[in-house]
Amino acid sequence: MSQNVGVRAAGTRRWLKRLEVRMLGLALLVFAALSLASPFFLQANNLLNLLDQSVVTGIVAAGMTFVILTGGIDLSVGSVLGVTAVIMGLTIRHYGIAAGVGAALVSGGIAGLFSGVLVARFGLPSFVVTLGVMAIGRSLAYIFSGQNSISDLPAAMSDLVYTPILGVPSNVASLIAIYVLTWLYLGFTRGGRTIYAIGSNREAARIAGLNVLGYSILPYVISGVFSAIAGVLMSAQILSVDPLAGTGLELDAIAAVVIGGASLAGGRGSMIGTLIGVLIMVMIRNGLNLLGVSPFWQGSAIGVIIIAAVLIERLVSARTGGG
C-alpha cells in the first residue's frame, strides 16, 4: 500500500505543477503588485476584509466548479441565491431562524435538482435549462417578496456571520470548511472521481458502469444548495434581503472557476484552483478600490485577467503537449 500512496503523491505533484501552481503564481503576483501599489492593502484589517468579500462568490464558485467539472454550466446561481434568500426571510418571520435557513437550503436543493434532472435525464443543454431557471428564480424572488426588501431579519442572524471560530469569523470559517470538504470529496471519494470521469469522457464512464445519471444531477443540487448558503450568509451580514440579491453573481463565479484552470468542456479543474481564482478576482476589485480607480474600470480589469489566464493556460498546455 505504501507504494500505492507514493504513486498517487507523485501523480498529484505533477497535476499541481500543471495547473494550480501557475494560478497561485498569478495570485501572488497580483498580491505583491497591490502591496507595492497601495500602502493600505497589506493591513490586517484589509486582509480580513478581503476574505470577507470572498465568502459569497467563493461558496457559489465552489458549487459552480462541480457543475463545470461535468461539462455543464449553471447560470441560475445568482437568482437561486436571490429567491432562496427571500424564502428564508419570509420563513423566519413565522418559524424562526433555523427553519428559515433550512427552507433556504432545501429550496436551493430543489432548484438544483430541477435543473440537474432536465440536463442529465432529458439531455437538455445546461446553458438553456439554467438560463430558464435563472429567469424563473428572479421572477419568483420578486413575487414572493412583493418587490420589497425584507429588512426585518432578527439581529441574532448576524451570529451566523460574526461568531469567531478558531479566531476567524464564522462566515470565513464556513468558506474554508466548504473548500476543504469539497476538495477532499472530489479528490478522494468514489463520487468525486466519478464526477471527473463523467466530465472527461461521459461515454467511457457509462460503459465502465459508473452511475452517470446520479452524479450528473448531484453537481446541480450542490450548486443550488451552495447558492442558498451564500444567500443566507449574505443576508445575515446586512440583516436584510433584497429580491435583487445575487444579480450577476453567475458571471463572477464562472470567471473564478475558469481563472482557476478548469476546462468548460469538463473533466479538468479543482477546488484549489477555484479558490485561487476567487481570491484573484476579489484582490483585484479590492486593490482597484484602494487605488481609487473608477469602479467602471473594474469590469475591464477582470475581463482582461480572465482572457489572459485562459490564453496562457492554452499556450502552455499546447507547448507541453497536454490538453
Binding site: 471519494t189 468514489r190 470521469a197 472527461s200 460503459i207 473533466g267 479538468r268
Partner: protein, 628 residues
C-alpha cells in the same frame, strides 16, 4: 505501367508521442500501376498513407512527387498536388448530398459552388467509372450503403483530378460482389494512367488486383516494389509476419467441451441494425461474432451490455432471464465490455493511468472511498501478466501510450472484476503485432479459467485463430454458426456478405422454385477436407419434403450426411438422381465475371419429369455474371 516513378518516398520516420509508427519506410509508385501496400495490423500502412495525403507530417525522410520534393503540411496541399485518399472510415458529411460531398473540396477554391457545372462533371466522372446508375446525386450521404459511400469518396478524389489515389483497406465493409465492382473501378483508373496505392492485409485481394507490392513490418519497409506475380502467398505471409512469428493457427483454440451455457441470446432485435440474432455462449469458450462492418455486431454487444434497448428477443444468463437496462446492471451480473473505440468509449483522458485502470472497479464498488486497496494484489498480478511496467501507472495520461499499451490497460480494467462473460469489440484494432499475440494469449488464459469470451472482429484471420466457433451475422441476422476448423477466410467472407447485395441470387432461387417447385440453394462444395467433403449452404429457398436436400442456410454438413450426396460429390452437366431415385439435382458453378469462383447454385426436384438442363444452366450463369 510507365517506368518513371510518380511518387517516391524514402526513409520516412514518424513518432507519435513515444511510439515509433514509421521507422524507415519507403514506397515507390509508378503511373498506371496498382501498388499493394501490405503489412499486419499496426505495421504503419495507415500512417504512411496519411503522411502521403498530408494528414500527418513525417519527422524525417524525403518524398518526391513527379520528380520534385514534396512535403504536404495539410490535406489541401496533397489534394492540390494531385494525391487523393479514399479513407477507411469515410470522411464524408452525412447531411450533405452526394453532389455536395463530391465537390466539397471545390468549395475552398475561388469560383464558388456551381451546381449545374458540377452536376455535369459528376455525371461524367461516374460515367467514366461505369457507375452512372449507382449513385443518386441528390440523395443525402446518410442514406447510402457503405459501398455507395466509398464510390462517393472515389468520385471526390477524381473531381480533384488526383493522379495518385490511395485506397486504405477499401474492402473492409464490402460484400464479394461489391469488391468485384470496386476492382473494376480500380482497373479503369489504372488504365487511365493513374497510380493506385492499395492498402490491405487480405492476401487474395492483393493477388487479384495489384501489380507490385511493398511490405511494411513494424514501421519499416521490408520488401520494396516486388512484382506480385513473382510471389507466393506463403512468401508474402512470411514477409508480413517476419520470421519469428509462425503462421500456425489452430494450435490452441479454446473449445466449449460440453461446458454449461452461460449466456444465451434468442432472436434479439433492435432495428434497424439488429434484426434477428441468436447464439449460445458456453463457459470457458471463445466465441467469434463475425461479419462485415455495419452488420450489427457491435450493436448486438450493446444490447447484451445494456447500452441499447432491444425491441424483441430474449437473453438468458446462466438460465435466468437477463435484460440489463444500463451497463451497471450488466456489470453486476458479471459481464464486461471492451468496446471498439478506445479514445471515445474507454479512455478517460483527465484521469491518471492508475485511475483509468481502476475505473470499472470504482463503479462496481459500493461505499464512499475509492478503495484501491481491495484489488491491489490482483492489479499487480494482471500488470505483470500483461508485461506492463507498474511504474507507468502513475503517468498522468493514457493518451501518450501506444495503442497496444492502452488496450492492455483497458483489458486489465475489466479483468480486475473477474467477469463471467467478457465481450470484446475489435480487440486488436490499432494494436501492434507483438501486443496482439499477448492479448490473444491472455484471452485464451481467461477462457481457460472459465470465463466465457465473445469476440467481435472484422479481421477474419483473427477470428479463425482465436475462436473455436464463429457465429456469422449479416444485415443484422445470424446466418451461420460454424466451427472455425471448417472455415477459411473465403468461406467466412461469403457467409458474411450482406443479403441485400445477394438479392440477385435470392430472387433467382425464388424464381426457380416458383417455376419448377422443389428446393433451390446456393453454397460451396469443399472436397479438400480430410474427413470427407462438406457442403456450405449459403442460401436456400423452397420447402418440398420430397426434394429435401438435407441442409438449411448456414449449415455445413458432410456431403455424405446430406440427402443429395451423389449430386454434391460429383456435379455433372445435367441432373443427378440420388441412389434411392429421388431427388434429382442440377448443380451449376457460379463465377463472377472476373473469374472468381463463388460456389454453386443447385435445384433439387422430386418427380420423374425433369426440365431441360442446358437453358437452365445458361439462365443461372447469366444472372450471376450481371448482378454480382
Amino acid at each position: 505501367m510507365s517506368d518513371t516513378a510518380l511518387l517516391s518516398a524514402r526513409g520516412i520516420e514518424k513518432i507519435f508521442d513515444r511510439t515509433r509508427a514509421l521507422a524507415c519506410a519507403s514506397l515507390e509508385v509508378r503511373a498506371g500501376e496498382v501498388h499493394g501496400l501490405l503489412g499486419a495490423n499496426g505495421a504503419g500502412k495507415s500512417t504512411l498513407s496519411r503522411v502521403l495525403s498530408g494528414q500527418v507530417r513525417h519527422d524525417r525522410g524525403e518524398i518526391f512527387w513527379r520528380g520534385a520534393p514534396y512535403a504536404p503540411r495539410r490535406p489541401r496541399e496533397a489534394i492540390e498536388a494531385g494525391i487523393g485518399m479514399v479513407m477507411q472510415e469515410t470522411s464524408l458529411a452525412p447531411d450533405l448530398t452526394v453532389l455536395e460531398n463530391i465537390f466539397l473540396p471545390a468549395l475552398a477554391r475561388p469560383g464558388g459552388f456551381r451546381p449545374r457545372a458540377f452536376r455535369a462533371q459528376a455525371e461524367a466522372i461516374l460515367e467514366g467509372l461505369g457507375q452512372a446508375q449507382s449513385l443518386p446525386l441528390e440523395a443525402e450521404v446518410r442514406s447510402l450503403s457503405a459501398a455507395q459511400r466509398q464510390l462517393v469518396e472515389i468520385a471526390k478524389t477524381l473531381a480533384m483530378e488526383a493522379a495518385l489515389i490511395i485506397f486504405d483497406e477499401p474492402t473492409a465493409s464490402l460484400s464479394p460482389g461489391e469488391v468485384e465492382r470496386l476492382f473494376d473501378i480500380i482497373t479503369r483508373l489504372r488504365e487511365e494512367g493513374r497510380g493506385i496505392v492499395f492498402v490491405s492485409h487480405r492476401l487474395e485481394e492483393v493477388f487479384a488486383i495489384t501489380n507490385r507490392v511493398t511490405v511494411l513490418r513494424e514501421g519499416r519497409t521490408v520488401a520494396a516494389s516486388i512484382p506480385t506475380a513473382s510471389l507466393t502467398q506463403a512468401e508474402l505471409i512470411r514477409l508480413m509476419a517476419g520470421q519469428d512469428v509462425s503462421g500456425g493457427r489452430t494450435s490452441s483454440r479454446t473449445t466449449a467441451n460440453g461446458q454449461e451455457v452461460v449466456l444465451e441470446a434468442r432472436h434479439l432485435a433492435a432495428p434497424p441494425k439488429v434484426r434477428d440474432v441468436s447464439f449460445t455462449l458456453h463457459r470457458g469458450e471463445i466465441l467469434g461474432l463475425g461479419g462485415l462492418v455495419g452488420a450489427g455486431r457491435s450493436e448486438t454487444l450493446e444490447i447484451l451490455f445494456g447500452l441499447r434497448a432491444p425491441a424483441g428477443g430474449e437473453m438468458r444468463l446462466e438460465g435466468r432471464p437477463f435484460a440489463p437496462h444500463r451497463p451497471r446492471e450488466a456489470i453486476r451480473a458479471g459481464l464486461a465490455l471492451v468496446p471498439e473505440d478506445r479514445r471515445g468509449q474507454s479512455i478517460v483522458p483527465d484521469l491518471s493511468v492508475q485511475e483509468n485502470l481502476f475505473l470499472a472497479h470504482l463503479a462496481a464498488r459500493r461505499g464512499f472511498g475509492v478503495g484501491l486497496r481491495d484489488r491491489e494484489a490482483e492489479a499487480r498480478r494482471l500488470l505483470e501478466r500483461l508485461d506492463l511496467p507498474a511504474g507507468r501507472l502513475d503517468e498522468a495520461s493514457m493518451l501518450a501510450f501506444s495503442g497496444g499499451m492502452q488496450q492492455k490497460i483497458i483489458l486489465a480494467r475489466w479483468l480486475l472484476l473477474k467477469p463471467r462473460v467478457l465481450l470484446l469489440d475489435e480487440p486488436t484494432k490499432g494494436v501492434d503485432i507483438g501486443t496482439r499475440r499477448s492479448i490473444y494469449d491472455m484471452l485464451r488464459e481467461v477462457a481457460a479459467s472459465g470465463t466465457a469470451v465473445l469476440v467481435v472482429s472484422s479481421d477474419f484471420e483473427e477470428l479463425l485463430e482465436l475462436c473455436a466457433r464463429i457465429v456469422v451475422i449479416s444485415d443484422g441476422t445470424t446466418i451461420a454458426d460454424v466451427e472455425s476448423a471448417l472455415l477459411d477466410e473465403t468461406k467466412l467472407t461469403l457467409f458474411a456478405a450482406p443479403r441485400s447485395s445477394m438479392g440477385a441470387v435470392s430472387s433467382l432461387l425464388a424464381a426457380l422454385v416458383a417455376e419448377y417447385g422443389g428446393v433451390a440453394f446456393w453454397g460451396l462444395i469443399d472436397g479438400s477436407l480430410t474427413e470427407g467433403g462438406r457442403f456450405y449452404c449459403l442460401a436456400r429457398v423452397g420447402e418440398d419434403s420430397a426434394a429435401e436436400p438435407g441442409f438449411r442456410a448456414g449449415e455445413t454438413p458432410l456431403i455424405a450426411a446430406t440427402r443429395i450426396p451423389a449430386a454434391l460429390s460429383a456435379p455433372k452437366e445435367g441432373f443427378v438422381r440420388e441412389a434411392g431415385g429421388s431427388p434429382a439435382t442440377l448443380l451449376v458453378p457460379v463465377k463472377s465475371h472476373r473469374g472468381h469462383a463463388l460456389g454453386w447454385i443447385g435445384l433439387s426436384l422430386a418427380g420423374a419429369s425433369l426440365p431441360e438442363p442446358a437453358p437452365l444452366r445458361q439462365r443461372i450463369g447469366a444472372v450471376i455474371a450481371h448482378e454480382m
